[in-house]
């Protein structure tokens, strides 16, 4: 069944979109991530223009994360103060990111920039995930010294603030900077950024795992909302029909994935997720390096 996407100005098979939504939703439920980093490349792969894929991907991530945020909020797993500090950085980052995106679009380099961002970010994050989780699997059984959290020099920067729920008294500069970076990536890549935010909160900020998921969802929901809004105004590339079709498949898939994810152990899950992230990066890198089928591209004058 063909469905016409009013902003992308093209017809796509609705079942294909529902299937992509379901698959990405399943994986995101399995691994507990938003899945935007898989969705946007897949949309580009089926011929959706990069700009529309990024704008609608951010919008879809918003929808996919809302129910998780509500659930975590009810359980009291959101550190609101930390979330708001991250969000201030995130809003600034996404604002800059959308300006960068609009500028790249005028220069005709959106496709390249999106692909390079994906290769670099996913390649780095995937490699770190695989290394960390494989290390954890190898260390298993051996005794490990546990501490509440480690202190780095960045925690000692000025403007200290108390985050009661995270049991932290640290400078606001690192969470602001992390929020900014995730907001920027969110705007350019159309992702929520949970897969980078969660490790950053654990390893850089030293937040307890119990509040990490809820607080990262808080940041993801509001930053993707901001990206959706700014992309709609400045680039005009959010396709709501595309978003809703992906969500329809996604929410169903996420429930199945979550049910299955409960059976996997943490380290294995992280290793698998890392491998998935790496393979997406490798596929996009291959696209950048191989000789393109068409040596010319056409597009509207931006």
């Amino acid at each position: 069944m063909q469905v016409y996407l009013p902003i992308a100005e093209m017809s796509v098979d609705a079942l294909l979109l529902l299937g992509i939504g379901f698959g990405v939703g399943w994986l995101s439920g399995l691994f507990g991530v938003g899945g935007g980093f898989l969705l946007t490349p897949l949309l580009i792969l089926i011929g959706i223009p990069s700009a529309v894929a990024v704008g609608s991907g951010a919008n879809q991530t918003l929808g996919a994360s809302v129910s998780g945020l509500i659930a975590q909020w009810r359980r009291g797993n959101v550190d609101l103060r930390m979330g708001l500090v991250l969000l201030v950085g995130g809003f600034a980052g996404s604002l800059v990111g959308v300006q960068l995106f609009a500028w790249l679009r005028r220069a005709g380099q959106v496709d390249l920039a999106v692909a390079v961002f994906y290769v670099v970010v996913l390649g780095t994050v995937g490699a770190l995930m695989v290394r960390e989780s494989v290390g954890a699997i190898l260390r298993r059984g051996k005794g490990r010294k546990t501490r509440l959290h480690e202190h780095f020099w960045i925690h000692g920067l000025p403007l200290k603030m108390r985050f009661r729920k995270s049991r932290l008294y640290i400078s606001v500069i690192p969470p602001l900077a992390i929020g900014f970076a995730i907001g920027l990536l969110s705007a350019v890549m159309g992702v929520g950024g949970g897969f980078m935010l969660v490790p950053a909160m654990i390893y850089l900020l030293g937040m307890p795992t119990s509040v990490v998921i809820g607080t990262s969802l808080f940041q993801v929901v509001f930053v993707t909302a901001n990206v959706t809004f700014l992309q709609a105004i400045q680039v005009g590339s959010v396709d709501v029909v595309l978003t809703l079709l992906l969500l329809a498949g996604g929410v169903v898939g996420a429930q199945f994935g979550a049910a299955m994810g409960g059976k996997l152990r943490g380290e294995e899950t992280r290793a698998l997720l890392g491998a998935l992230v790496l393979s997406v990066a490798a596929a996009l890198l291959w696209d950048l390096l191989s000789v393109p089928d068409q040596l010319f591209v056409i597009g509207p004058v931006p």
Binding site: Y4, M10, G63, G108, L247, Q255, Q294, L295, F296
Partner: protein, 258 residues
């Protein structure tokens, strides 16, 4: 039987009329000659709905004389609204394929389709074909930015691959004088006013032409969404946020397991 009855009826009438035979009483034969070309479109409006998966422009008509090579011949040319297009050449930089030099064409027909009873080069001289732009390579395309014919060729090839430019669409002739052509319209077609020219060629010259037009319009939900997104982007952005949030919440409530 009916024929004979008709004659029987007519004879008295004629006899009655004969005595006063005057020019005024003979029904006047229309002095206008039958048109050498008559053409029409099956529809004057193509609606792009949310379920639009492409369509066609059906042009049909009749000629005065028989259609054959050397006799009457017909060319149909449909063009869509012009748009400004950038053609970018991919170049390899540090191993990566990136968008390099770009040429800009300000008035590119977003749609261009031609059907004819014979290939135009066989029926018209080059000068006339160029003047009428009867050929994909004869479209007037002033080029800005990067130089070189490769950009124009790429534009043509990519437009053809998208089904937006088509030459050599088959023209069907039936009954010797009736013609029709189905010009394919892909789903990526631009909205706006489309012009369809129908030319009658006789002995290497265009002797009659007819201009028709049709509108391709977005209707229904698709049209409203695109209009709101363009005219009220703030409202649209907020609506996107609320819709996605609501859909995500609703979905998790409906499909919650356990």
């Amino acid at each position: 039987m009916t024929g004979r009855r008709l004659v029987l009826l007519l004879v008295p009438l004629l006899l009655l009329g004969l005595p006063g035979l005057a020019p005024a009483q003979v029904p006047p034969v229309a002095p206008v000659a039958p048109p050498s070309l008559a053409a029409e479109l099956s529809t004057r409006r193509i609606e792009v709905t949310t379920a639009f998966a492409g369509g066609e422009i059906l042009v049909f008509g009749a000629t005065e004389r028989l259609i054959h090579a050397g006799g009457d011949e017909v060319v149909v040319l449909a063009t869509g609204p012009n748009a400004a297009i950038v053609v970018r050449e991919k170049v390899q930089v540090l191993g990566l394929w990136i968008n390099g030099p770009a040429a800009r064409f300000n008035n590119v027909p977003s749609y261009w389709a031609m059907a004819s009873t014979r290939p135009p080069p066989e029926m018209l001289a080059d000068v006339e074909r160029t003047e009428l732009r009867l050929g994909v390579d004869l479209i007037s395309l002033p080029q800005l930015g990067a130089r070189g014919p490769q950009f124009r060729d790429a534009l043509r090839d990519l437009k053809r691959a998208d089904g937006l430019w088509a030459d050599a669409v088959p023209m069907e002739v039936s009954g010797g004088r009736l013609f029709h052509a189905r010009l394919p319209v892909p789903s990526t077609v631009a909205t706006g006013e489309y012009r369809v020219q129908v030319l009658l060629v006789r002995a290497g010259r265009v002797v009659a032409r007819q201009e028709l037009s049709l509108d391709i319009v977005r209707v229904g939900t698709a049209a409203r969404i695109a209009d709101v997104a363009r005219d009220m982007p703030m409202l649209y952005g907020i609506a996107c946020i609320l819709l996605a949030a609501f859909a995500g919440w609703l979905g998790s409530v409906l499909f919650r397991r356990g």
